[in-house]
Amino acid sequence: MSKIWTVAVAEYVLAVKTKAFVISVILMPIMMGGMIALKPLLENNRDISDQKIAVVDRSGAELVASLAAAAEKRNAEAIREKSSGEQIHPRYLVETPDAAALAGKSDPEIQLALADRVRNGELHAYLWIEQGVLEASPTAKASFHARSTSGDLRQWLGAQLTENVQRKRFEGEELDALKKKLAPVAIVPQELAVRTEEGTIQVGVVDTKGMQTGVGVGLGMLLFMLIMSGAPRQLNCVVEEKMNRVSEVLLGSVPPFDLMMGKLISSVGVSLTLGVLYVAGGYGVLNHFDLGALLDPQLFIWFTLYTIAGVFLFGSLFTAIGAACSDLNDAQSLITPVMLVVMLPMFVWPQVIEEPNSSFAMIASLVPFATPMLMVTRQAIPPGPLNAWEPYVGLGLCVAMAIFCVFAAGRIFRVGLLSHGQAPKLTQLVKWVFKS
């Protein structure tokens, strides 16, 4: 047992000192912390310099003045943070081109002149409102010209222009009343009504299922990532040891099964280290947005158990392939069928998320190779699997399959580690399992 730990500790230390691991660890707080810290940071550094817009109106509806009024209203009311009064958005300044300057010029000439003013920074953008806009002519439009056509300004102008054109179209009529009549009916997702312990009936609780589904998908994805970051690394490591003939020295000191177990335990250690960091980071982010309750501690325990079982299950398969092959090219052909098994839960994931308690989802999540990813997702989505036994049976089957795979991989590992030359076929691997 002590040799298993010696191997596990040495491999763990080697793995966590790799650049890939360090990058994974550094990325996590950057991603998680970035989501919290970056938002206000970006807001603070937003460009709030004035944005001057020239508007040429060919619609005949005299829309420039109303746009200028809307801009002034916005500048007065909507560009400062309410609590501090600090300006956080730029002022929009609507400019009407001087009529004298336009006189005698063709529209293309005017557009070119405006474009030049945009290019030299005098204007931020110009808006060209075509004739027929008011009459809702199918070809009539307003065009927005700027160095960058993305951003809030175009959207704001679009909204204001629509509002003002609609008002003109309905001039003399009760547009507000009409809008009220046309208002859509909102459908708000809410929880099923329940009777509380105090005996009152609780209705109207906002449904967080969508967010909890997100948590489930996140945990499933994380589990998949942890397994996929550990198992192929193990394969590379074994092939490299074989190529460097380190395995022969190791086998001179450690029985093959102990060596493989040491490697698998180190993989579990690496995966759990990353998993704990990521889940803790995720919890931190959720907590920051007052959504910490979405991550049930019990779910975290299941997640840990599935990670351990999954790493043993897939890690043993990849380790066995590594031992059977003499180089990475050989390994590719043997990896393909295993990769199909690994990808299995990804193929059925959308259906499971859609209907987490369908018979299909239940059966799929009881298939040992898919259990870790699918069951944790189902458990995260309320109300969870309908039968309380499902996670236990799923984990039990997964552990049983992991034990079988570790046993089979141990056989392949023992024979494969000393075999060099052409990679064995799948049938030969099966023979090694049952005849060695």
């Binding site: 395995s247 020295v249 190791l250 001179g252 450690v254 029985p255 000393l418």
Partner: protein, 303 residues
Amino acid sequence: MVAIRIAGVTKRFGTHVAVNNLSLSVPEGAVYGFIGPNGSGKTTTLRMILNILVPDQGEIEVLGRKDLRAAKDEIGYLPEERSLYKKMKVRQALRYFGALKGMRRRDLDPRIDAWLERFDLVKWADKKIETLSKGMSQKVQFIATVVAEPRLVILDEPFSGLDPVNADVLREAVLELHRKGSTVVFSTHDMEMAEKLCDVIFMIFRGNKVLDAPLDAIQKQYGEDTIRLRLGAGAPAIEGLPGVRGVRDYGNYKEVRYAGDPQALLQLLATRASVQHFEIARPSLHDIFVRIAGPEAAEVKRV
């Protein structure tokens, strides 16, 4: 006491018999040379001693233990191809291999320091193995083999690729292990080194034991039919002379296997060329090896 006892061991790979009914006894404290052509079953035998492979038939006992797993901690193994973790630092690798032999850090560190000092590797202790030269990594590999002070040391081609200075340093280290009482099994193709170092020579050929005796006894067994001679320039060829069975040209001298009276040969040669050197010698291990395993070798004669 016997360090390794192999009794009637056979190992097959499919239909190929790699080792055939081998029996061998290596006394404790000996330097035992394992020789044999490539693919003759040498490495398979070593792997069975190390319990990396399990024999199909027969029994192996190492350091008095039939459970070879229990003996692993007392065996140091240096494989032919140098095998170290390239990304590990020197001290880290030595600690790891020492720990795999069941040693504790506090016992290991002073030994590691002493070996690094001896091999002039102290300043490389915290460098990654990939940064070492071939000779240096070979020395690190040797330290990894012996740092746990094993009772049985198995060295497979320990000197290959080393310059003469480093080869001497390593050879002296091997002899010191021997003086301290370790049994050394030394597998090599370097016949000269085997002659110099080994008390007993074991040769395996096509899976069968063909030699297993002290060098002196082997040389006696192969008779004193070897003559080393150097002739002056322009001497006619000696191949085809009566009694001359084989001529090996080493450049500075020729080695001749001769059946007959050496004095008669000397007289004959003196009439044909200037004889600068004429020595009646025992056959070298190299010569014996070639006689057994060379292209003209007869059927395998088991011993």
